[in-house]
């Protein structure tokens, strides 16, 4: 049986399925005459619960960063909430009952208030209230910390998992987790991604699959229950490849991108959506060197709003926690387009109305995007870069628009942050103008795919031209060298974000040229790091 859901994090897991049932704590209502003694039991249990949350906070802080750990801090505050405590005290004193019952009752009441709200985010708080109440009850009942009793490692299936449950997952015992509910942006999903466990959501698994053999394909978002031999063989192979990659990762994670002679280079990730941040972090990216913003436009019915964009950029900035995130403004044209742009068909789309050319003719599109980018910059380290630049005049016009955007934000009373400005070098014109352009911007990012196509005058989509469209052509390499030299002379840093940047056969050449940063697709990062660490520029 193959069930299709949504992937929260990639990876392959194979093993026995185990259905996690929340231990519905059976709380009995018992008469207790000594209310003070019950209150004392509650206070002690609360302190212990807070201590446990403090430990979880520290654990999450180390594993997934402050922004994601904050939920445990909020849980501690919820336990200290006076309304919560008063309700418990009221029940204990008025009804003369045990503390367990009073906590369970209060937890239910509060979570109902949140569950009734017409807001997804607030409805999630209902789970938080239940979670903290369960924790106190567990302490009162003298039970151990909730955990997953382990035997052999399993694929864990659950209706939903609370943040505290995910962070407590014993990674040795859990191969993957699969839930029926939850969203790709829930705390659980974010924690799972950063904790490197393949995970799926939206899987409506049958109740009776406990103990069956299963395969989780975190790349396709699928769960197989009792798969046939052929499927198993296929996934054995996939899994082995994945394991080899992870072994390399284990070895190289946390190591510096430094050559034998001590030359350092930044190694960033190219991403095409918010969900790719997980892969970037998992592969130890030092930042995001190219965040393609097209995903917001393509497949949409209409132009994405400032808020939609702001949310996406902010999420990425926050998850990268202070590491550089370079957002490329709209790079759309007649070959990859969205209907609502109303673009006419073109004879030569690659040479046509695209990218910054559209933005400068229709500045409102660029302004909306820039507003979102500048506002999101309050939440992290954001840079912006503009594609398809051919002239100084374009850069000057962009800078005017940037100033207008900042003034408008000031007038609207919206906070915004500092944003580094850069341009893509992907046209021969930009290469030849790089000395002048470098003085106008903070950085260059060389897009080798388009640069190759434009320098060699060959359509990279045309399969007959595969031999001609040679990114190793000396003309391409000389163009890169010239760009790097001019960038540094003009005080700009320079990176490479095209496919060539991730080609380990070229790494040494680029380092010799003095390239400051390489931005590659997440799965290539560690291979490139490996290549960098083997290079000796003085040798």
């Amino acid at each position: 049986m193959r069930l299709q859901g949504k992937s929260v994090f990639g990876g392959i897991a194979m093993g026995k399925l185990a259905v996690y049932e929340k231990k519905e704590r059976t709380v009995k209502r018992e008469k207790r005459e000594d209310a003070d003694a019950e209150m004392q039991r509650f206070y002690e249990a609360k302190e212990e619960a807070k201590r446990q949350l403090g430990v979880l906070y520290e654990k999450a802080l180390k594993e997934v960063g402050e922004a994601n750990a904050a939920i445990f801090d909020v849980h501690q505050m919820m336990l200290d909430d006076q309304d919560y405590e008063e309700s418990i005290e009221h029940i204990i004193r008025e009804q003369k009952v045990n503390a367990e019952y009073a906590v369970a009752q209060t937890g239910d009441n509060f979570s109902e208030i949140f569950a009734a709200m017409d807001d997804d985010y607030m409805r999630m708080r209902a789970a938080d209230v239940k979670d903290i109440s369960d924790r106190v009850i567990a302490v009162l009942q003298g039970g151990k910390d909730k955990g997953f009793a382990g035997g052999e490692p399993v694929i864990l299936l659950a209706e939903d998992l609370a943040p505290s449950e995910t962070v407590q997952l014993d990674k040795e015992k859990v191969l993957s987790f699969v839930t029926k509910f939850g969203s790709t942006n829930s705390h659980t999903a974010i924690l799972a991604r950063t904790m490197n466990i393949p995970a799926l959501i939206g899987i409506d698994f049958p109740k009776d699959c406990e103990g069956a053999f299963g395969i989780v394909d975190g790349f396709e978002g699928a769960l197989y229950i009792d798969p046939d031999e052929e499927t198993i063989a296929l996934y054995e192979k996939k899994k082995q490849k994945e394991e080899e990659r992870r072994a390399l990762l284990q070895e190289l994670k946390g190591k510096e991108n430094v050559t034998k002679d001590g030359t350092r280079v930044e190694l960033f990730a190219n991403i095409g959506s918010v969900a790719d941040v997980g892969a970037a972090l998992q592969n130890d990216a030092g930042g995001i060197g190219l965040f393609r913003s097209e995903f917001l436009y393509i497949g949409a019915e209409d132009y994405p709003s400032e808020e939609q964009q702001f949310q996406a950029y902010r999420t990425v900035a926050q998850n990268m926690a202070g590491k550089k995130v370079v957002i490329r403004t709209l790079d759309i044209g007649a070959d990859k387009k969205a209907d609502y742009f109303g673009l006419d068909p073109e004879e030569n789309p690659a040479l046509g109305f695209r990218a910054i050319r559209i933005c400068l003719q229709r500045p409102q599109i660029l302004k909306t995007q820039l507003r979102a980018i500048f506002r999101a910059a309050c939440y992290g380290n954001i840079s912006v870069m503009y594609p398809m630049i051919t002239s100084l005049r374009e850069v000057e016009r962009i800078k005017e628009i940037v100033e207008e955007v900042k003034e408008e934000l000031l007038k609207d009373g919206l906070p915004f942050g500092e944003v580094e400005q850069g341009i893509m070098i992907e046209t021969p014109a930009a290469v030849f103008m790089s000395a002048e352009l470098a003085k106008e911007v903070d950085f260059f990012s060389i897009g080798t795919n388009d640069l190759t196509q434009y320098l060699l005058a060959c359509d990279r989509q045309n399969p007959n031209l595969a031999d001609v469209c040679d990114p190793y052509h000396p003309a391409v390499l000389r163009a890169i060298e010239m760009t790097v030299k001019n960038a540094h002379a003009g005080g700009a840093w320079v990176g490479i974000c095209g496919e060539l940047g991730g080609d380990v056969r070229m790494t040494e050449t680029f380092l010799r040229m003095g390239v400051d940063e390489l931005s590659v697709s997440p799965p290539r990062i560690l291979e490139v790091r490996d290549a960098i660490r083997r290079i000796d520029l003085k040798g």
Binding site: V74, Q82, M117, M122, L414
Partner: protein
């Protein structure tokens, strides 16, 4: 008694993390701090209440500080809201 109004600009409204920070900011002052908004009135020093207001982006929040150091509390909380919400 001193009060001021503030319109929430954060797209997620007062969600869990900023609610926690707001409660901490309010608790740092000795005076009573009351929040009014979305048809509800809550004690700003109690996180469940603050979260259950469900105040969203674009909605107006009235902050009332009453008692010792109310002027300082108003100034600090206004600065906090501008910074975080």
């Amino acid at each position: 008694m001193k009060e001021f109004c503030y319109t929430i600009t954060d797209p997620e409204g007062i969600h869990a993390r900023p609610a926690g920070l707001l409660v901490k900011a309010a608790a740092a002052h000795p005076c009573r701090v009351t929040l009014k908004g979305n048809g509800k009135e809550v004690d700003a020093k109690r996180i469940m209440g603050v979260m259950s207001m469900g105040v969203k982006q674009g909605q107006e929040l009235t902050v009332v500080c009453d008692g010792e150091g109310e002027a300082q509390a108003c100034a600090d909380l206004e600065a906090f809201l501008k910074e975080n919400l």
